[in-house]
């Protein structure tokens, strides 16, 4: 079927391994996204905080540099769980921003344009479609959360030496697990909203609402029933708890345990997957 031949010819070449096909979706999505200079600028901006943290770690181990800037070694921020917790807080906020930009149109555009039958009539399952669309966010958000986080951790380990790495391996795990908890939840929530809400602005608003609205409700329940369990509705709070527990941050008033926080996370994840599974199908059948 060469361009000049104008006849129909079957394809007889090799096929790609089927497990790699879901990666086609993020590749095409990035081609579209990085065409926009504003998106590229925003992406670069996400590395400002890692750069500052890199400088802080460097200064920590360079007394000559500290002297030049006139900073006493005791004045500089200690590198511990709190240090990485704050870093992750900044980066996950940026991840949220990216999710608000990308997430709401991930599936809604395909639904609006009846594209799902085109995907699903190929050797490409609903599960692969969901994983592929999720990878768009997972890969991008990984690049601005746990990847720079682990870079900072390794840099600190290298400069500190003397068994710091082995003594603080839990920090590496915390960086990875907290980041994954955040970015997987952001991806699932945004995709679920994208599947059910066609209007982009409304889907973005829903994403904000899911993090904001449960907070006053939780405090209202706390005030009325004198129980902190009302906050179990709050996925934002649960993610913060996961983060604080993960980084062993001493906060006096922990609203609930790590187990409860992960429980909330799992309930929300299951709910999002259920919503996606209901909506991501070639054709909706009304019985």
């Amino acid at each position: 079927m060469a361009v000049y031949e104008h006849n129909y010819k079957p394809y007889e070449g090799a096929l790609t391994p089927s497990w790699t096909r879901f990666l086609v979706l993020p590749r095409y999505a990035y081609q579209d996204l990085f065409k926009y200079k504003i998106f590229l600028s925003l992406f670069v901006l996400c590395y400002v905080c890692p750069l500052i943290y890199t400088i802080i770690i460097y200064l920590h181990h360079n007394t000559a540099a500290l002297q030049i800037f006139g900073i006493a070694s005791g004045d500089i921020i200690p590198i511990n769980g709190m240090f990485f917790s704050v870093f992750m807080g900044v980066q996950t906020s940026l991840a949220f921003l990216f999710t608000v930009i990308i997430g709401p149109v991930l599936i809604s555009r395909d639904l609006a344009n009846n594209a799902l039958p085109l995907y699903l009539c190929r050797p490409f399952s609903r599960f692969e479609y969901i994983i592929g669309k999720m990878s768009v966010l997972l890969i991008l958000l990984s690049l601005i959360t746990w990847v720079p986080g682990l870079f900072l951790f390794l840099m600190q380990s290298y400069l500190e030496g003397g068994g710091w790495l082995s003594g603080n391996l839990w920090l590496a795990w915390a960086i990875f697990s907290v980041s994954m908890a955040w970015i997987a939840m952001l991806a699932l929530l945004s995709m679920a909203f994208s599947a059910w809400i066609k209007w982009r602005t409304a889907a973005s608003a829903a994403l904000f609402a899911i993090f904001i609205i449960p907070t006053p409700i939780g405090f209202a329940i706390q005030g009325i029933f004198n129980t902190k369990k009302g906050h179990l509705l709050n996925i934002g709070m649960a993610l913060n708890m996961i983060s604080w527990h993960g980084f062993r941050v001493n906060v006096e008033d922990m609203l609930f345990s790590a187990g409860e926080a992960w429980g909330v996370w799992l309930v929300y994840a299951a709910l999002c997957l259920f919503m996606l599974w209901r909506k991501v199908r070639a054709y909706e059948v009304i019985s």
């Binding site: 394809y11 555009r109 395909d110 009846n114 009539c121 190929r122 050797p123 490409f124 054709y283």
Partner: protein
Amino acid sequence: MDQTPIIELDRLRVEFGKRAILNDLTGGMKGRCVGLLGPNGAGKTTLIHTLLGFHPPTSGTARIFGRDIRKEARDIRTLIGYMPERDAFIANQTCVHFVRLMGELSGLPSDAALERAHEALFYVGLGEARYRKLGTYSLGMKQLAKLAQAIVHGPRLIFLDEPTNGLDPPARKRMLELIREIRDSGRAHIVLSSHLLRDVEECCDEILILKGGNIAANCNLEEERRANRQFIEMETRNATPAFVQSIGSLGCEFAVSGNERFKLVMQEGMELRDLYKLAAANDVQIRRLNFKRDSLEDIFLKAME
């Protein structure tokens, strides 16, 4: 024609809720281009969707190229292409980008997908417009783009659901030409679902007619036409009762309308010469005589009775 069925239906039943859409369909499709006909709501699209794996069968099954749609859906989907009835595309993409993406999702490596996307678009006649965004395409161009994405990976079986919907006459002609070209290439089978009998008649060698979720007819059009070669329509002048009687004496089945118009089914051993002889003997003029071929419309209407 190869007698191995491309699609075998084995008591295939599909229900939505408690409503049966396909009722225990059993049969086989062997043709190079099979026309799927039926009135609205007959189950044509549901049958295609079930074969594509979009709806699970309630009971029974079907086989495509010998592969079971229940157990080997993924394998089947590597062999088929699908052009949906409704507008379907991916937003904000150029046509070549879209077709390439579809090729890659079918398992083609990136370079091969790009090459074949260009080829497919030139083949369907969108070569010059391939870098335009799909949103700017006319309805006819969108239909051709849908055909291009259905053939980009070179499937062995192509499902076309109402491919001429909304096309103006030149675009329709072009679409039907493409379907016939693919059919005649001998490299792919086609299942063409349409409610336009003329489209099916122009392209298909076999038809499956559905009515209320049941198979109303499944026949080979060519064989059907050959069988009807012995059916004659004759118009006469000055036909007498004696002439009518003498036709009966030839031993053929016949019907008369308005004393002058005859419909006859020629019997084995009977020749046209015999009719002319009779007419001459009875001083009757034969003004018109032709073999009547059962049109698809006749077959369809018979099936709908």
